[in-house]
């Protein structure tokens, strides 16, 4: 059928895809306005909280539309029209329908998906009329000589809000500050790392709804953490024997991994996922002079030697209490190594403007045993990533660290072993398993046992 038959334009409305969504986001037009389409041709792609779907041309003709990519369109409202000459007049939207979508937020029925409603509530909040500082916020204002007027019509203003407005994010970027308090709100991300450019990607609608749902009243991060146990026969001792700094190795490898896992060098704000376009690794350390997090800029682009040199330099500055303010700012990811203190497991707090922090625990050995283990902990913002990705990051890092250990001669294996579960060949025999050779995508060779192979 063509619209010629009737001579009237055919109106294409947005269908209702599910019971949750009163509207859908127009992801992209598949045809330019004014294009002639055939019946059944895809016109546009939409996204609801559950899925994406395509809208097809009901008839042949020329498409006219006014909506743009990214628009949120109410279910049942006009998407486009298809006419013979492409010059049909747009009908008046029935005002009731449009109004209904805007003013009546989704109903919070007995539905177990209140996520939808949450999204609705957030946009319903009126603008603040006044402002109110907490005691800590007031103290910070006076300490930094900030003008309270800066916060006019901001409503409730907390310490973190004031910190976010400091020209140099001095104490705000120091995790020690955050650590000295309790409560999840201290890990909130407020703004990007000062002076670091970034690119911005829209967060998908369904992800935003998930976020809205999971958000526990605290506005900024949803901290989560993954821990991985690493087998070792003495990585630290091996590094020392080889005259290498384990910190530098961690910065070096993490820097490279972050290129692969950009979600951990990013931040969440205004319902968007912002990715840093530099990898600047902050290394939290405390050698008795107070906790500081100097930043190794562009860690992903530097050699191990360069990083080692820089680290040594920073260490000297730290001990002389000479660390420049600039060297403390701009971190996009943090590593905290509490092995010195003997902490085997801990939960690091995500720093402001970041989305993840890597914790490295102390090595543990049972008495008389050469085979021990340590923990790698990745605390991350669940709004921007998930446990699976965090685990992948850690698995990859563990593999690399094990490679160093082997290279430095820390591991003297008398017999072959599975590089995933660390069971030796003799142990495997006892449980009627065996080893096979494995070639990884990067070409490296190794052994994997039949149990892990099945599991993988």
């Amino acid at each position: 059928m063509s619209c010629k038959d009737k001579g009237e334009p055919v109106l294409v409305y947005l269908p209702k895809e599910n019971n949750n969504d009163e509207s859908a986001r127009l992801l992209a037009w598949r045809v330019a306005a004014g294009t002639r389409v055939t019946a059944g041709q895809a016109l546009a792609e939409f996204e609801t909280s559950k899925t994406t779907f395509e809208l097809y041309a009901p008839v042949e003709g020329i498409v006219q539309y006014r909506h743009r990519d990214g628009d949120e369109i109410a279910v049942g409202s006009l998407v486009c029209l298809v006419s013979e000459d492409g010059r049909a007049a747009f009908p008046e939207e029935p005002p009731k329908k449009a109004a209904a979508v805007q003013t009546t937020p989704p109903v919070v029925a007995a539905a177990p998906q209140p996520g939808l409603a949450v999204g609705a509530f957030m946009s319903r909040e009126p603008v603040a009329q006044g402002r109110r500082f907490s005691a800590r916020a007031r103290e910070l204002l006076s300490r930094h000589g900030l003008d309270p007027e800066q916060f006019a019509k901001r409503g409730l203003v907390r310490a973190q809000d004031v910190l976010a407005c400091l020209p140099v994010p001095a104490e705000a970027t120091i995790p020690g500050e955050a650590r000295s308090q309790k409560g999840p709100q201290n890990t909130r991300i407020l703004g990007p790392a000062a002076g670091v450019p970034y690119r911005t990607e829209q967060i998908s609608r369904s992800k935003r709804l998930e976020i809205a749902f999971l958000r526990s009243g605290s506005q900024h991060t949803l901290p989560s953490a993954v821990t991985l146990t690493c087998p070792t026969r003495g990585l630290r001792a091996a590094a020392e024997r080889a005259g290498m700094s384990l910190s530098a190795v961690l910065v070096y490898e993490a820097g490279r991994l972050l290129q692969k896992f950009p979600a951990f060098s990013s931040f969440f704000a205004d319902d968007c996922h912002h990715f840093y376009q530099e990898v600047n690794i902050a290394l939290a350390f405390d050698a008795g002079q107070g906790l500081k997090t100097p930043v190794l800029r562009r860690a992903d682009a530097k050699s191990l030697q360069e990083l080692e040199g820089e680290l040594r330099e920073l260490m000297v500055q730290y001990l002389n209490d000479e660390l420049a303010v600039e060297s403390l700012a701009g971190g996009t990811f943090t590593i905290t190594d509490l092995a010195q203190e003997g902490a085997a497991f801990f939960s690091p707090l995500i720093n402001q403007g970041q989305s993840a922090i890597l914790g490295v625990g102390a090595e543990l050995f049972a008495p008389e045993q050469s085979q021990g283990w340590f923990h790698l902990i990745l605390a991350f913002d669940h709004q921007l990533s998930n446990g699976r990705e965090a685990t992948q990051f850690l698995v990859e890092l563990r593999r690399r660290l094990l490679a160093y250990e082997q290279a430095w001669g820390g591991v003297h294996r008398e017999e072959p072993f599975c590089q995933h579960c660390e069971r030796t060949l003799s142990t495997l025999r006892e449980i009627k398993a065996h080893l096979v050779e494995e070639v990884r995508p990067d070409g490296a060779k190794g052994q994997v046992c039949s149990l892990c192979l099945r599991g993988l």
Partner: protein
């Protein structure tokens, strides 16, 4: 045997002359109705049970003989005879008891709960006597000569509400006739076992004139009822008529433990049997007419549909989010003065408003001074009662049935328990069981709450016991919504029994006083709105739900929680505790995911528990953390510091919120 238990042994008179014939015909009709009902019961066509008046028919007939249009009758469980005698509505009665839509109450009320113009029965012994007194008060105010009549049984002489009513009826000289049907038994209990002293000595002690008659001498009974009715009509004061009689059938069904010989003796002197024997021809005709009429009524009822199904009950599901409007509430007067001014303003505007309570007249003006000066300003509309909470509420019920707007004050909320029967079993039931023939726009105000050292029986918050009664509402005022406006709106719209929870400490608080910066005050669009204190510019970390007198404490806690702990709380303070609009609470919880429920009363099965349950039902995933703050399960100590320690306050809220 006491004087009261002696069965009058006069010879029944057999003869019947002109005017008597009609009354006999009525008595015969009533007996036929009752016998048919027993048949229907045996056939399983009735619901529940019936209390027949076989043997006592003449009481209703005699009283009805002297009543006029505009008189109002209150009856009890044994009410069929009274009803037919007064209304002649056999058809409505039979259909009612058969559970049909064509019944006088649409089948909703049944045997004990009948209502027609000027007739109300309820199956709570003695409960209707203060209601009758209230109606009599209304009748007295509307300068006509109508009277109220209350039928009671001799077993009901044990009910306290009766004496509260007699006292008030006499003290206030209310035109109410109490008719006691003295049949010597209460269900299975023989009178001497439970009755001390004399029967007539009781009304006499209250200064109420008394009369005596019996059903074996119908002509004398007619005389005496005439005297009694005329006495009340003329003097506009009460009268007590004792009618000795005997119930010839079981109390209800199959529950007769009396000596069969005793019952048999009474059958032999039964005035109706005697009459039918003496006037065989006339009597047979009367019986036939009655039988035909009742049979036709049964047939008609059988064809009628059963009681209309209930309207869909509200699901309680939130289907609309609240619309919030910014509140304008300039600092105003103290809460107590706002209530006082609103009462005065509305009494000026609406003549139907009357105030009833203990010590409420000037110059005292109520224990908390809410009604100061009103008795002087509105003479005859502010009533100091004796210490009779059941009667206070019952009077309110009677006045409300008469179309007035009674406002009852219960001096301490703790004593609401004494008025509970009137609220729960009378006020809350009338509209439904009388099939929408009446409304009960009754307002009961009472202060709840502790922290004044009044001790365990004067400090409680007992509202939880009154929540959830269909057809009622429970409202709690607070200082963030002008209580004056609250009462203006309540008077403008009251259509059901309403309990208003005030709070002792709140009385002295200034309406709209100092408020924390950074929080927006907003109302829903409900005329009696839910109030919200919304943290501006941020999403709340925590939702705190509270009501009434808890609000000032919660506000202080919320201020400190932000000031010192940077926790942003949103307060949701409903005014309507029941029926509850969950929407505002649910909305807030969906933002904060954390809920703290605060109330001053005991927490077990209380408001907070209900809110929590509803939230869990409607949005199971919405809450991450939930906690309740309420009084620990402990009586309230009088000692100030101990009481403060025990009752929820700012400190507990801060501790819990963190």
């Amino acid at each position: 045997m006491s004087e009261e238990a002696t069965i009058a042994d006069e010879e029944p008179r057999g003869g019947v002359a002109g005017p008597l014939a009609e009354h006999y015909a009525k008595a015969v009709l009533i007996r036929q109705v009752e016998q048919t009902l027993l048949d229907l019961f045996a056939k399983g066509e009735l619901f529940g049970t019936v209390h027949t008046c076989i043997g006592q028919e003449w009481t209703g007939v005699a009283v009805a003989a002297h009543l006029r249009r505009g008189d109002v009758v209150f009856s009890n469980h044994r009410c069929h005879g009274h009803y037919v005698a007064i209304t002649d509505d056999v058809e409505g009665l039979v259909a009612e008891i058969m559970g049909r839509q064509s019944g006088v109450c649409g089948g909703r009320g049944g045997s004990q709960h009948l209502c027609a113009e000027g007739f109300f029965s309820n199956g709570v012994q003695g409960g209707m006597t203060p209601v009758a007194a209230g109606m009599a008060l209304a009748l007295k105010r509307s300068s006509n000569d109508n009277i109220a009549v209350a039928f009671i049984g001799d077993g009901t002489l044990g009910e306290g509400a009766l004496y509260e009513s007699l006292n008030i009826a006499s003290r206030w000289q209310l035109p109410v006739l109490i008719v006691l049907e003295n049949n010597l038994y209460a269900q299975s209990t023989f009178q001497p076992q439970t009755l001390a002293g004399g029967i007539l000595a009781r009304p006499a002690a209250f200064g109420i004139p008394t009369l005596e008659a019996n059903t074996w001498q119908p002509e004398d009974l007619l005389d005496k009822t005439l005297q009694a009715v005329e006495q009340v009509r003329r003097t506009r004061g009460p009268c007590f008529l004792r009618v000795d009689t005997y119930r010839l059938m079981a109390h209800s069904k199959g529950d007769d433990t009396r000596d069969p010989q005793e019952v048999q003796r009474h059958w032999q002197r039964d005035p109706i049997s005697v009459f039918l024997e003496a006037h065989a021809a006339d009597g047979a005709k009367m019986q036939r007419t009655a039988l035909e009429r009742v049979a036709a009524a049964v047939e008609a009822a059988r064809r009628a549909p059963f009681t209309a199904p209930l309207p869909e009950p509200p699901t309680g599901a939130v289907d609309q989010l609240p619309q919030w409007r910014p509140a304008e509430l300039p600092a105003g007067d103290r809460v107590v003065n706002c209530i006082h001014d609103a009462l005065r303003r509305n009494m000026e505007r609406d003549q139907r408003i009357v105030l009833i309570g203990e010590d409420i007249e000037g110059p005292y003006g109520g224990a908390f001074k809410v009604t100061k000066n009103l008795s002087a300003e509105f003479p005859g509309r502010v009533f100091n009662t004796p210490i009779s909470e059941a009667a206070i509420a019952g009077l309110g019920n009677g006045l409300a049935l008469a179309g007035l707007r009674p406002v009852c004050e219960i001096m301490f909320g703790d004593f609401l328990t004494l008025a509970a029967d009137q609220f729960i079993n009378h006020a809350a039931k009338f509209r439904y069981m009388y099939n929408n023939q009446v409304q009960v726009p009754l307002i009961i105000r009472t202060p709840m709450g502790g922290k004044r050292g009044y001790g365990a029986t004067h400090s409680q918050s007992l509202e939880k016991h009154f929540l959830g009664l269909p057809d009622t509402q429970v409202l709690a005022i607070h200082h963030r919504f002008d209580p004056g406006v609250f009462y203006d709106r309540l008077f403008a719209g009251v259509d059901r029994p309403t309990l208003v929870i005030e709070n002792k400490l709140l009385y002295g608080v200034r309406v709209g006083g100092d408020r924390s910066d950074g929080f927006a005050l907003e109302y829903t669009s409900d005329p009696l709105p839910t109030t919200r204190l919304r943290p501006e510019g941020v999403l709340p970390d925590l939702t705190i739900v509270c009501y009434g007198g808890m609000l000032p404490d919660v506000e202080k806690a919320v201020d400190a929680l932000f000031e010192e702990h940077e926790i942003a709380c949103e307060i949701i303070c409903p005014m309507r505790l029941y029926p509850l609009d969950l929407g505002p609470i649910l909305e807030s919880v969906l933002k904060s995911r954390r809920l703290l429920l605060v109330e001053e009363g005991l927490g077990f099965a209380a408001f907070g528990a209900e809110v929590a349950a509803q939230i869990l039902e409607q949005a199971p995933g919405a809450i991450e953390v939930m906690a309740r703050i309420a009084s620990p399960e402990h009586p309230i100590p009088s000692c100030g510091p101990l009481e403060k320690e025990l009752l929820p306050g700012e400190k507990q809220i801060i501790q819990r919120a963190r």
